[in-house]
Each structure stands twice: as C-alpha cells, then as structure tokens.
C-alpha cells in the first residue's frame, strides 16, 4: 500500500498548460452564434454526453484521452456524464449509421435546453471516408441541428480541448 502511495507522489506532474492550447485557428460555427447568456451559463460548468453513432472508435479514444492526467479537461469544469438528461452538450462522433438514426434523435430529445451539439471528427461532419455509402446518413447535420464542428480524423485531444475552450471564450482577453 505504501509503495503505491510513494509511486503516486513521486510521479512528476504532467498536466499541460492552458497557454500552450491557445492556437489561433478559428472555430467553425454552424447555425447561430452562441448567445452570450448560454456562453456565460456553460463557461464554468459543462456536462458532455458522448454519442457514438457508428464510428471507428478513433474519436472516442481521443475523447477518452481528454480526461487523462495530461489534458485533464476536468480542471475547466467540463465533465462527461452518463445520461443525456444531465448533459448540456452532445458530442456526436461517427457518420450516422441507419440503425443509430433513431437513437440519436431520442438522445437529442432527451437533452434539456439550452443544449449544444458538436460534431466531432470528419465522419460526423460530412460522412468522412464513409461518405456516400448506403449504410450511413452522411453526417450528424442531416439528423439533428449541429452547432459546432471539430474537424479531423480523428482530431487530437489538444484540438478538441482548444475548440471547446474557444467556444466558451475561456481564452477571452480581459
């Protein structure tokens, strides 16, 4: 037991600094700009529910990496939740396969307003490498209204984190 604690306390800190995340690319906004009210509401505390609508799991791995000791998304008040009823934002990955269409709609309806939908990864944006296949519906926007997109196949956790922080103006210059 004590070897375990010693190991915990002797491991060096690995959390990356916020400043290194601030890249200058602009985020892509679909639909309306976020209202100031909604931005203020979710700035300090954001609950994300991740929906896998038939993806290659690459995006899920990157999203999982967000909660590790390197990126540590929790320090910004963002956490992942189990139920869409608890969620503020739906992060949808994967080109929406036919079987997951209804489930995605149900998830969207189960989330209380105000809510945001983010399409993560090229698959979710426009079908990615599966575009035009008979089995997918070519992106989340054809099923539910999308507010933001995070491009990449898959986007690295650094990218995702940077987009999230930019969405809520965490990098706002005071």
């Amino acid at each position: 037991m004590f070897k375990f604690y010693y190991k915990i306390f002797s491991t060096p800190k690995t959390v990356i600094d916020v400043k290194s995340l601030n890249r200058s690319d602009d985020i892509t906004v679909i639909g309306q700009q976020l209202e100031k009210k909604v931005k203020k509401l979710f700035k300090g505390s954001l609950a994300i529910r991740e929906v896998d609508t038939g993806s290659t799991n690459a995006c899920e791995q990157e999203l999982t990496a967000l909660s590790n000791a390197y990126y540590d998304i929790e320090r910004f008040g963002i956490h992942f939740v189990a139920s869409p009823r608890h969620a503020d934002m739906l992060m949808v990955t994967g080109a929406v396969s036919r079987n997951m269409r209804e489930a995605l709609i149900k998830t969207y309806e189960a989330t209380p307003t105000p809510k945001l939908v983010v399409a993560v990864g090229d698959d979710a944006i426009n079908g990615g490498i599966f575009r035009g296949s008979y089995a997918v519906l070519d992106g989340v926007a054809s099923v539910i209204p999308v507010d933001f997109q995070i491009p990449g196949d898959p986007p690295s956790p650094k990218t995702i984190l940077c987009y999230l922080l930019k969405m809520f103006d965490v990098f706002e210059v005071k």
């Binding site: 915990i8 979710f42 008040g77 189990a82």
Partner: protein, 309 residues
C-alpha cells in the same frame, strides 16, 4: 437577536458548505490521479448551472417523480439543522433524537427509490433494488454505532451525546473508536462512496445511487445532487462531532462558536480526505460482498456496546 443569528447559521451551515466538501473529495482524488482536477468550488457552479437549465420529464412519470426531490431536500435541511454542528447549547430536543434522524433519512431514501422505479426505465428499477438492499442492511450498523455512544452518554439526544462524549475519560474511549469504525462503514454505505458505490461511474451496471437519478434534469437534479452532498456532510459532521467532539462550543459566545466552526471544518476535512484517499486506493466491491461489510459494521458496534454497558 444573537439566538436568531445562531439558529440561522445552524440551519444554513449544512446546505451552504456541503458542495465544498464534495469538491474537496474530487480534488484530492484528482491529485492522486496526478491531475489538477476541478476547483473545490466546482460543485457550486454545477448547481448554479443546473438551476438555470430547463427540465425534461418522462411521460411515464407520476407526481411522485416530481415531488420526491423537494421532500428529499427538505429532509436534508431539517436533519442538517438538528445535528450538533458548532454548539451543544441548542438542545433541539425533539428533532435531534438518534432514531428520528435515522428514520428521516430512511424516508428520503424511500422516496428516492420510488422515484427511481417511477420512470419505468431499466436503470431506475435495479438502482432502487440495490439501494433498498444496501439501505436495509446498513440500518443495523448505523443505529447500533450511534446507540453505542448513546449508551455511553445515557441519552439518545445527539446534543447530549456530544456533551457527554467530550467529557469522557481516555480510558473509556476505546469503545467509542470501535463505534466510530462501524459508523464509518455505515457512512460509506449511506452516502454512496467506495467500496459500496462509485459516485463517478458511467457504467449503469455498477451504479447504485446514480442509477435512480439518471432521469432527473434541471432544477430537480440540482436539488437531488445538493441533497446527496448535504447527506455526505451530515454524516461527516455526525462522525466528527459525536465521536470526537472536543472543541465544540459549550457557551454561546461568538469566539467559541467561531473556534467550534473552525474545528468542525478541520475535522470534516480530515474525514473527507480519508474518504478521498480510500476511493483512490481500493476498487468498488462486487455487490454481493457488500452485506459482509455491513454485517462487520453491525458486529463492531455490538462489540463497542458490550464494552460500554
């Protein structure tokens, strides 16, 4: 005038401080995972945000689903106002009885379990089943660990117990420590911490408390989360003040109350750090190993009682 201020402090202390200790536990767990973690005031932000969200209520839910969060939160407010926090002077005689506190919290568990079944989802049903199983078996250990100190203090009134234990000699303190160990096990069970339940899990198969609240949203979810945090603080405060009550204010002066408040926060921080370290060191137990733990809690309190009487 002073009395009114003190009563207000007693009433508001638990609801206002409780999210802080949940945040503290999460922060310590994050540090053990080598992360920075959310700040200790993060639960306050979560509650504020939840109060500003709309709700989605299931078409299968009845009035019990809508009514339960108010009852649960009301029970936590009342129990929080009736336990010895900073002073023993308010012998809040009729609400501070040991059995009244335990059974009031059983009332809140009853309604939470009913709300879990009410929505007719698979998760809520088995969450209620597990919660009632654990609650039924915890009652023995909880009542008996509190009974041990009640017998030592010749009263079941919580304030009188606090006053009596603080004047107990060190020689007769061993059974109080045993009763405290039994109480800690009951605390972990009732407040849904490791090894009984994982409060941060996303796997419904492993949920006990979380499974019942998967269907809540908006302000009702805020009330239930706040009530759960208050329950945690109530149990911590009971553990700190009933078993190790030194420093509690005997008189009503501002200075003694201030010192008592500081010591309470210190003791509660200590116990919640212990809970956080426990959660970082062990895994959640399989469900059918939990009754063994609860019977151990019962037996420990039986031993404590046999040493006291």
């Amino acid at each position: 005038m002073d009395t009114i201020i003190f009563w207000t402090i007693q009433l508001l202390l638990v609801p206002f401080l409780s999210p802080l200790f949940i945040g503290l536990v999460r922060k310590i767990k994050a540090k053990f995972q080598n992360r920075a973690g959310a700040s200790v005031v993060q639960p306050y932000r979560d509650l504020w945000k939840l109060l500003h969200k709309d709700e989605v209520i299931s078409t299968d839910a009845s009035w019990i689903f809508k009514f339960a969060p108010y009852l649960i939160f009301a029970v936590m407010i009342i129990v929080g106002a009736s336990i010895p926090l900073v002073t023993v002077v308010f012998s809040n005689n009729f609400l501070s009885d040991l059995l009244v506190i335990v059974y009031l919290m059983a009332l809140s568990t009853f309604f939470l379990a009913l709300a879990g079944i009410d929505v007719g989802s698979a998760f809520g049903g088995f969450g209620s089943s597990r919660e009632m199983t654990v609650a039924a078996l915890t009652e023995g250990g909880l009542i008996f660990s509190l009974l041990a100190v009640a017998l030592a203090a010749h009263s079941t009134n919580l304030f009188k117990i606090t006053a009596a234990i603080s004047s107990l000699s060190l020689y007769s303190f061993a059974p109080v420590v045993l009763a405290f160990l039994a109480f800690v096990l009951a605390l972990l069970a009732e407040t849904a911490r490791f090894p009984f339940d994982n409060p941060a899990t996303h796997l419904e198969l492993t949920m006990i408390h979380e499974a019942m609240i998967l269907e809540y949203s908006g302000k009702r979810l805020a009330l239930i989360e706040w009530a759960a945090a208050s329950k945690f603080l109530i149990f911590l405060a009971l553990g700190a003040n009933l078993f190790f009550p030194w420093g509690i204010a005997i008189t009503m002066g501002w200075l003694s109350i201030g010192i008592a408040l500081g010591l309470l926060i210190l003791k509660v921080t200590f116990i919640s750090s212990f809970v956080a370290i426990l959660e970082s060191s062990i895994a959640k137990y399989r469900f059918f190993r939990l009754p063994d733990l609860l019977f151990i809690s019962f037996i420990l309190s039986l031993i404590a009682i046999s040493l006291i009487i």
